[in-house]
């Protein structure tokens, strides 16, 4: 398989774009998609100071890498959750990236260690307050990112949420009709009031597989192991279901999430009932009198065509 753009040997195929790319052209594609997301959603400009939430995973480290390469002023915050060997490994990978790549761009890594402040890791804290670990983690991360963003006067907080994260979240909300959460699924959320920093998701146009490929191709050393606390998470089930659909029908995930964003961005039309819409568009078929939107209904057209075909294909007697 060759690169769609330069015709050299491809290293990744992207069925949803009906394309394949070599490393160089794929990097251009990833950077272009991110730049398009930043511009179209008015996320930030070249003069803004950005705080990237990094976890040691592929998405957040790729985001930091991309923003620095695109010339943005991006520092990062890592929250060490105190999940034994998993946190030690992820902390090591974030530090390595900060020292070997980010420092050359003049970027700074902030670190918050849960154990130092709370006296316990996330697992023990969750047990103490009788809440699920993922929910406790979410509360701590949201709080600390907002605190650091405000204390260090960052203009915007950026997370590595990708197309799969957003599509899975949307699926979860739609399955339970949690409409009150849909407004918060936009990739750019303004600083709604004093004390809340602006939040953006510049990777929402890129899939999880594309970001993993970007990290592998650019030798970004990320933590491949799954967070031990996330095992059995419902989000993972939704992602697996969406990936099965995507494999059978490429483009499903982007059609689902981008379609949702498109609908959200348009002003809501005045609500009409099905009966009102039918009355406006339907009238009797000129042949059979059954309702149709056309002059002749599709049943009568089909039958007329069948009769014509049947007559023309009859053998002469």
């Amino acid at each position: 398989m060759n690169c769609t753009k330069c015709k050299t040997k491809a290293v990744i195929d992207l069925p949803r774009h009906n394309a394949a790319f070599c490393k160089g052209c794929f990097n251009v594609f990833v950077h272009d998609q991110t730049a398009k997301a930043i511009k179209s959603q008015k996320m930030f400009g070249k003069d803004d100071r950005i705080l990237v939430a990094v976890s040691g995973g592929k998405d957040s480290l790729a985001l930091w890498d991309i923003l620095l390469k695109l010339g943005y002023k991006a520092d990062a915050l890592y929250v060490n959750l105190g999940i034994g060997a998993y946190s030690e490994e992820s902390h090591r990978k974030v530090t390595k990236f900060a020292e070997t790549t980010a420092a050359a761009h003049g970027a700074t890594l902030h670190v918050h260690t849960v154990q130092e402040e709370a006296g316990a890791g996330i697992k023990e804290l969750a047990q103490l307050i009788h809440r699920p670990a993922c929910s406790t983690c979410g509360t701590i991360k949201r709080y600390q990112f907002n605190r650091v963003a405000l204390e260090h006067k960052y203009d915007v907080m950026a997370t590595g949420h990708n197309l799969d994260d957003e599509a899975a979240r949307l699926l979860g909300n739609v399955l339970r009709w949690q409409e009150e959460y849909l407004d918060k699924q936009a990739p750019s959320l303004p600083a709604s009031l004093e004390g809340f920093a602006k939040k953006v998701k510049p990777l929402y146009r890129l899939s999880e597989r594309e970001l993993a490929a970007y990290s592998v191709l650019n030798r970004i050393d990320y933590i491949v192991e799954e967070c031990p606390m996330a095992k059995g998470a419902r989000t993972i089930l939704y992602k697996e279901v969406l990936n099965r659909l995507e494999t059978e029908s490429p483009g499903t995930k982007q059609a689902f999430y981008w379609g949702f964003l498109d609908k959200q961005s348009k002003p809501e039309a005045a609500p009409t009932t099905m009966a009102e819409r039918d009355q406006a568009s339907l009238h009797p078929c000129s042949v059979c009198q059954q309702p149709t939107t056309a002059e002749v209904c599709s049943y009568c057209k089909m039958m007329a065509r069948a009769k014509t075909h049947s007559a023309s294909s009859c053998p002469p007697v």
Partner: protein
């Protein structure tokens, strides 16, 4: 060929030659959720893999970081 898998970490032996997508199918793995890496190079679905190759099949799904907007999952107890 030697295949390295994750979640959990393990290795399996599969007879080559075989295309990357056939290998994923044989292991019952979804293309969209995995990368196929030969040595340290990424390969496309139609790449032919041979018995001498060292292959890693890397899963790409992660649990996802918590969203920075409060979001209570219906499956999460609030206590």
């Amino acid at each position: 060929m030697q295949i390295q898998l994750s979640h959990p970490t393990r290795s399996v032996e599969i007879k080559g030659p075989k295309k990357a997508k056939e290998l994923l199918k044989e292991l019952n793995l979804v293309v969209e959720a995995h990368l196929v890496i030969r040595g340290d190079e990424l390969v496309t679905e139609d790449e032919m893999l041979y018995d001498k190759d060292q292959i890693e099949i890397r899963p790409v799904i992660s649990g996802g970081s918590p969203h920075l907007t409060p979001h209570v999952s219906p499956f999460t107890s609030l206590e």
